[in-house]
């Protein structure tokens, strides 16, 4: 049996709010294998984002553990977690989170700096990723000169530039119109077809249905975990 790429073991996240304890995640154990395309669904406050942040090692669980590629993360210090995020996880955010007044090329190259890659190789790898995203003509554009869809493509290029094992996308279409959303989802499907493991957080059923597996959260617990039966496959 192969090791799951992501595995959570009795994952709990609690917050103390006004003297009481709120369970954002109340004991979640699940596994995601390499090559999967998973959508995590749920209403606002269901715990889906908290779950994603812990899988992405941005947030630490109150108890339980997250294993990435078979490695337990609960004992890691902040530097080890930073290295893990850098080498194994690519993030895509709702608000793109590109550095302003910085070219697309330099934005994409940022993770490679923290990986210690030399300047020439950084530029080369960032350029290739942007070209793969169809942005070969926009290398020197700052985010302000790009459309929302283009900005999200730059962000996806940045997430992929370190060749991570896992792509985490938090509401990646939340700031885009429906047509651009479709384009971005098509891009994710293409990336998944090429072997990338993708975990996507969304509150929209239509977006979630682009994935192959749908996990639904409510009140910090998984209430449904099933393959998407009527999957929306975008044809270019």
């Amino acid at each position: 049996m192969t090791v799951p790429l992501v595995e959570t073991l009795s994952l709990v996240k609690e917050y103390t709010v006004g003297g009481g304890i709120v369970h954002a995640i109340a004991g979640v154990s699940l596994a995601i294998a390499r090559g999967e395309f998973v959508a995590i669904m749920g209403a606002s406050g269901s715990g889906k984002s908290t779950f994603m942040n812990m899988i992405g090692c941005l947030d630490v669980p109150s108890s339980g553990d997250v294993r990435i590629d078979g490695t337990a993360t609960s004992a890691m210090d902040s530097d080890a977690l930073a290295e893990l995020r850098n080498s194994k996880i690519g993030f895509v955010f709702q608000q793109f989170n590109l550095l302003p007044r910085t070219t697309a090329l330099d934005n994409v190259a940022v993770p490679l700096i923290y990986a210690g890659v030399g300047r020439a190789e950084r530029q080369e790898r960032a350029r290739k990723k942007l070209e793969a995203m169809g942005l070969g003509e926009r290398l020197d554009h700052s985010p302000a000169k790009l459309s929302g869809g283009q900005q999200q493509r730059v962000a996806i290029a940045r997430a992929l530039v370190t060749e991570p094992l896992l792509l985490l996308a938090d509401e990646p279409t939340g700031a885009l119109d429906s047509q651009t959303s479709e384009e971005i989802m098509h891009l994710f499907q293409t990336l998944n077809d090429a072997g990338n493991t993708i975990i996507l957080v969304t509150h929209e059923r239509e977006i979630a249905d682009h994935a192959a597996r749908r996990i639904t959260f409510r009140d910090g617990k998984v209430i449904e975990d099933a393959p998407v039966t009527d999957r929306r496959l975008v044809r270019a």
């Binding site: 942040n53 940022v110 993770p111 923290y114 210690g116 030399g118």
Partner: protein, 416 residues
């Protein structure tokens, strides 16, 4: 190992790039923040320069006395108290025995001094007349611009010859060459035989406001009202060879004089001996304290500038919390975030320091031209100012930078 070094260098270069971009983006704010550091560095550099200038001036004053020498003078009556063998005195015979018996002595310059009024034509000048022997020229490096110095024959015959300092010549004759003219010194006619080379002024004291006459003539004409014995001196300069231990010569002169005056063991000496070395050390100490006080006061403005830097860095960290979260998500370690803000603060301060340094160099040039007082800004001071600015940046940027690095990635990312 080399790959680690390359990694570190790559990250450092990158941090510098981020810092410069951040500073450019908030250009106006950067300039205003920098101003505080500029003023601080300006004040500190000027303080150091004025302090060094004072040092240079004092050393110049001491050097203009002559190179290596000991100055011997009798303890004034009122200071000797009852502890000395007899009233302090120093005679020509003492001077001669010092010259003959002590090794390393190049020449002696026994002196009498009196304030006199010199009149020529309708003009007059108040100055100090010094009764000297030819040895004075040797010991004090004095030379004549025109004419000759006081000669042995002048001293032997108590000749009424006089050598004038530049300032006195200007007062009495203007540009006219006074050699051969007769001047009246306290109503006694003297013939001008020479004019001294100008030595300039030191610490407000004009070294050229002086007139030299034979010591014998001074004794006869100007010091008759003073309670001096027929052979007494007011002061004796002892010229000493280069490379000779001044402390040793001083002890030998002291022993010689104590023997001559039969001062018993444990009794205070009736004379005081000072060497140029001691003058140097003392003035170095005094000007050093002067400089330290100036720099301490100036440092307060740099402190204020540093607090400005800290303030603006805290604002910068708060404004860019989301960016910090993003960088952490992309793999930045805490040390990367910390260094990014440290570099930003250091660069900001170094730019401020450079501006302050340039202002100080300009001010020093103006000051020097106006006040005729040296205000040297050395290369060391310049480099020191820039490095010190960087240290201010690291010090005051340190807390904001550490605060930034301690942020939790997810909380930073969530910040709007």
């Amino acid at each position: 190992m080399t790959s680690r070094v390359r990694k570190a260098a790559s990250r450092a270069a990158f941090n510098l790039g981020i810092a410069l971009t951040a500073l450019r983006v908030n250009l106006m704010r950067s300039i205003l923040t920098t101003l505080g550091v500029s003023i601080g560095v300006f004040a500190v550099v000027l303080a150091v320069a004025v302090g060094s200038g004072a040092q240079v001036s004092v050393m110049g004053a001491i050097n203009s006395l002559g190179s290596n020498m000991a100055i011997v003078f009798p303890v004034p009556d009122d200071e000797s108290g009852g502890a000395v063998a007899e009233r302090g005195r120093l005679t020509m015979r003492d001077a001669v025995s010092i010259e003959r018996q002590i090794e390393g002595v190049t020449a002696i310059a026994p002196q009498l001094r009196a304030n006199v009024q010199i009149v020529s034509g309708g003009r007059n000048a108040s100055t100090e007349a010094i009764g000297v022997t030819p040895g004075y020229a040797v010991v004090t490096n004095a030379a004549t611009e025109t004419g000759r110095f006081i000669s042995d024959a002048d001293v032997r015959t108590a000749g009424r010859t006089i050598v004038l300092g530049r300032t006195v010549v200007s007062k009495l004759f203007g540009d006219y060459d006074p050699i051969g003219e007769t001047v009246r010194v306290n109503k006694v006619p003297f013939t001008v035989v020479g004019v001294l080379e100008a030595k300039g002024s030191n610490l407000g004291e004009d070294s050229d406001d002086v007139a030299l006459v034979p010591i014998s003539a001074a004794r006869q004409r100007f010091t008759s009202d003073l309670p001096l014995g027929p052979d007494d001196l007011r002061v004796l300069f002892v010229g000493i060879e280069d490379g000779v231990n001044l402390g040793k010569v001083k002890r030998e002169i002291s022993r010689l004089l104590r023997d001559r005056y039969r001062v018993r063991e444990g009794q205070g000496s009736p004379f005081i001996i000072r060497t140029t070395e001691e003058f140097m050390e003392e003035s170095a100490m005094v000007t050093g304290i002067f400089q330290a006080v100036l720099v301490a006061i100036a440092s307060i403005s740099l402190l204020v500038g540093g607090i400005g830097i800290m303030n603006i860095m805290l604002v910068s960290v708060t404004e860019r919390t989301r960016e910090i979260g993003l960088r952490m998500a992309l793999g930045a370690k805490r040390s990367d975030i910390r260094n990014q803000f440290l570099v930003e603060a250091a660069v900001l301060c170094m730019i401020g320091g450079a501006i302050g340094l340039l202002l100080a160099i300009g001010a020093a040039a103006v000051f020097q031209a106006q006040a005729d007082f040296p205000v040297p800004i050395g290369v060391g001071t310049a480099i020191g100012a820039i490095l010190f600015s960087a240290v201010v940046g690291l010090l005051f940027g340190g807390w904001p930078a550490i605060r930034a690095s301690r942020l939790s990635p997810i909380e930073a990312l969530r910040t709007e």
